[in-house]
């Protein structure tokens, strides 16, 4: 039992997150440890939301990646904020519109990928320029505040734990069930191992890939909506750090880059870890150059530690 747990690749991201937390605490003499954890939970929540979508895309196999996540966040966030115009009564409509934007982006991406046969990395990169231009044209770069109720929901805490984090833990658990126990999830992992074998086994390959890109875009849109509420409004640069973060949490979390092997618990460990590394290096007051260097080295160390999966034979 214990050995089974120790063999899980996602374990390492939690161990790493805990060690980084300890290292930070050692510096501050264990002051503010609780606050640091709630801050980490808050920011990790947003990483996890986009990470889930990116993880499903990665699990489709080599070459699959969604680079349009930041642009989708920005477009969905700014359209929803402008539409709601700070009125609490519009919250649900704003959410629905954000999700519809996600569906639209997913469809657009997939048209480029399947219809025009553009590799996903190029297709989603180029579509992100189109999406971002739409956001600029629509919002003119103005920052519009969220409805107070939405701001409240995205920041409220119960006993130091953000409510949103609890909701996203439940979301991640549900998506874990989707990945491992539904036909859709099984199909995604089949395609990720061998797209030809999946086709011959009767998996509707193109439909599953389509659904997965839509899922990723919808989650990005949801994240944009919530993050706009959390950070006091949408802005054109709000998605910036989510491009690398969405990829990093998937990889650090133990999902196989080669596809076919998704991993949900690891997303949380990795997201906490990413945030805690940043705050640790800030606490140590290192120069920017050293911070980047240390971040890179730490990520390499964690992936190496987690990556020792043995193959049979």
């Amino acid at each position: 039992m214990i050995r089974d747990v120790l063999r899980k690749p996602w374990l390492w991201s939690f161990v790493a997150a805990f060690l980084v937390w300890l290292a930070t605490m050692a510096f501050t003499g264990f002051k503010g440890g609780g606050e640091l954890i709630s801050a980490a939970l808050t920011f990790a929540t947003f990483f996890v939301i986009v990470g889930i979508g990116q993880m499903f895309v990665f699990t489709l196999g080599p070459g699959n990646v969604d680079l349009s996540i930041p642009a989708t966040m920005t477009l969905a966030g700014s359209v929803a904020m402008k539409l709601m115009d700070t009125q609490d009564s519009m919250i649900v409509i704003g959410l629905l519109v954000a999700l519809v934007i996600g569906v639209g982006v997913g469809i657009f991406n997939y048209i480029l990928i399947l219809g025009l046969r553009i590799p996903p990395i190029i297709a989603t990169l180029s579509s992100s320029f189109v999406i971002l231009s739409a956001a600029i044209a629509y919002g003119r770069g103005l920052r519009i505040k969220p409805p107070p109720l939405l701001a409240e929901f995205t920041t409220v805490q119960v006993a130091g734990i953000p409510v949103l984090a609890i909701a996203v833990v439940i979301l991640a658990a549900l998506m874990g069930v989707v990945l491992h126990r539904t036909i859709y999830g099984r199909s995604v992992t089949a395609i990720g191992q061998s797209i030809r074998a999946a086709g011959f086994a009767g998996v509707p390959v193109e439909r599953i890939r389509f659904l997965t890109y839509v899922l990723s875009a919808v989650l990005a849109a949801l994240c944009g909506y919530l993050f706009s509420g959390f950070s006091g409004g949408s802005s054109l640069s709000m998605g910036e750090q989510y491009l690398l973060a969405s990829i990093a949490v998937v990889v650090i979390g133990g999902t196989s880059v080669a596809g076919g092997n998704g991993n949900l618990p690891g997303l949380w460990g990795a997201a906490l870890f990413l945030f805690l590394v940043q705050s640790m290096l800030n606490t140590y007051q290192l120069s920017a150059g050293l911070r980047y260097l240390a971040t890179g080295l730490i990520i390499i160390a964690v992936i190496t530690a987690a990556g020792g999966q043995k193959t049979l034979r």
Partner: protein, 489 residues
């Protein structure tokens, strides 16, 4: 090279994978100038033994002697190569993204400097010409674009090609399983010439005729041990089968199958894209329809067209029932390497096992366990990874996937590659029983024996149907004749 010189000998070799004891105290010796035939059921330990010889697996116990030197400690692939021991495995080892010539270079590190690509191309081309005259493979072809038969040919030619180290012993593991009768004949003739010139070959095959015809000495393996080893002349087909440990069933049991009348509407029909006359493939419910001819003459494409027709409208083919496919190239088209045997079996049947929105793990376990017993997949636990099975047992899992699904039509793309005789008989029996029960089989095979299980056979040549033989018209001569000469019909 002198005859009768001891090239390699293994002495009391043991190898285990977890709880599976793959080799238990195996002794084996091979001399120059002999072709050693190696037979045994799937999972008898043949492939493991060859991996030990090739240096890709280290034995747990035992000694390895090459030309009299004890190399047990240092033995690995590089040592094996430098001593002239080469191996063609069942799992092909070419890099699919490289050309034929580049793959030759990967193997021969001495091809360096300006013009290496041309020299590598010439090296491999000369060998291909020698073994498979008229092969039509170019050195610039990308390996991934070649069919499985041509990949196998390149692999074989590469193993026999020589640059700075001599070739003394070549291990061929099921080399003819992807080749049609003509290519297989060319290869076996070459093996005989190679051996006569003082080389040595270890030949593994499930086709006992090949072994008896080509090998000078035959070794029989069972449950990880060598149970018999005698000159080939002292064996007959039946005594070999008996030594392998399965009862020789009446070989012509299958021919008792009588031709059925073809009435009513067919469940599947298809016309090759390049067909100029009105010939078309027709399958009725409960029939076993064979696709014959030389390898790569459009049979696989026909099966793919039928498979695609189950999903979207197609001009080439139409089917009236759900379709399942048993792939021949199991590595790229069949197995899911990260999954357990159980998940590999159930993937095509998940829709039946859904409760609410979720797949019911108990039903999955029941299905996998049922099929493990039904077709005797050799594993202690269907929860083990699919790669823990030997090649033939992996293929059985793929059969279980198709036969366990609801598909009324089962397409088979030469699926018996690397499957032993006992298993083949079992599968033939199962196909017949399923056909009686109303399932339709469309079966591409390169083996004449398998065509005898069919109700109706279509012979393919150049992507077209050239003959349409009912069961009572089917003879080997007719199939061979029509495979080679294009009919005006």
């Amino acid at each position: 090279m002198s005859m009768g010189e001891r090239i390699v000998s293994l002495d009391g070799v043991d190898k285990s994978f977890g709880a599976v004891h793959a080799l238990a105290g195996v002794d084996l010796a091979c001399d120059s100038g002999e072709c050693l035939g190696l037979v045994g059921h799937n999972g008898a330990g043949k492939s493991t033994l060859m991996h030990v010889l090739a240096g890709t697996l280290r034995p747990d116990r035992g000694r390895i002697l090459v030309s009299g030197d004890d190399l047990t400690r240092s033995y690995d692939v590089a040592v094996a190569q430098s001593r002239g021991i080469r191996c063609v495995f069942q799992e092909l080892s070419l890099c699919p993204n490289l050309t034929v010539a580049e793959n030759a270079r990967v193997f021969h590190a001495s091809l360096r400097g300006l013009g290496w690509r041309r020299r590598a191309g010439k090296l491999i081309l000369d060998k291909l010409d020698e073994i498979f005259p008229g092969h039509s493979i170019a050195p610039g072809d990308v390996v991934g674009d070649l069919g499985i038969a041509r990949r196998q040919m390149v692999e074989i030619a590469r193993a026999f090609s020589v640059t700075d180290t001599p070739v003394k012993l070549v291990i061929l593991d099921e080399p003819t399983s992807s080749l049609d009768a003509v290519l297989a004949g060319q290869l076996l003739d070459f093996v005989k010439r190679f051996v006569a010139a003082g080389g040595a070959v270890i030949l593994i095959s499930h086709l006992l005729g090949e072994i008896l015809d080509t090998a000078s000495r035959v070794i029989v393996m069972r449950d990880g041990k060598v149970v018999a080893g005698r000159p080939a002349a002292e064996f007959t087909r039946d005594s070999l089968v008996a030594a392998m440990g399965s009862v020789a069933k009446g070989a012509d049991e299958s021919s008792a199958r009588t031709a059925k009348g073809r009435e009513g509407a067919p469940v599947a029909r298809a016309r090759p894209a390049g067909q100029r006359n009105g010939a078309e493939l027709v399958a009725h419910r409960g029939e076993v329809v064979g696709l014959a001819g030389l390898g790569g003459q459009g049979q696989t494409e026909m099966l793919r067209a039928l498979f695609a027709a189950a999903r979207r409208r197609s001009r080439e083919a139409s089917v009236r029932e759900p379709v399942a496919l048993v792939a021949g190239d199991r590595q790229t088209d069949g197995i899911f390497p990260l999954w357990s045997i159980e998940k590999n079996i159930t993937i095509a049947s998940l829709r039946r096992m859904v409760r609410g929105l979720l797949v019911d793990p108990r039903q999955e376990a029941v299905m996998a366990e049922t099929w493990r017993e039904k077709i005797n997949i050799r594993t202690p636990d269907v929860g083990n990874n699919i790669l823990s099975l030997s090649g033939g047992n992996q293929q059985k899992a793929l059969f279980a996937r198709a036969l366990g699904s609801v598909a009324g039509i089962v397409l088979m793309d030469d699926p018996m590659r690397g499957v032993d005789i006992g298993t083949k008989q079992e599968v033939y029996g199962m196909i017949r029983a399923e056909a009686e029960a109303g399932r339709t089989f469309i079966w591409y095979t390169t083996e004449m024996d398998e065509l005898k299980n069919c109700d109706h056979v279509y012979v393919f040549r150049n992507g077209r149907i050239v003959a349409d033989l009912a069961r009572d018209e089917l003879t080997e001569e007719k199939v061979l004749h029509t495979s080679f000469t294009e009919e005006a019909a």
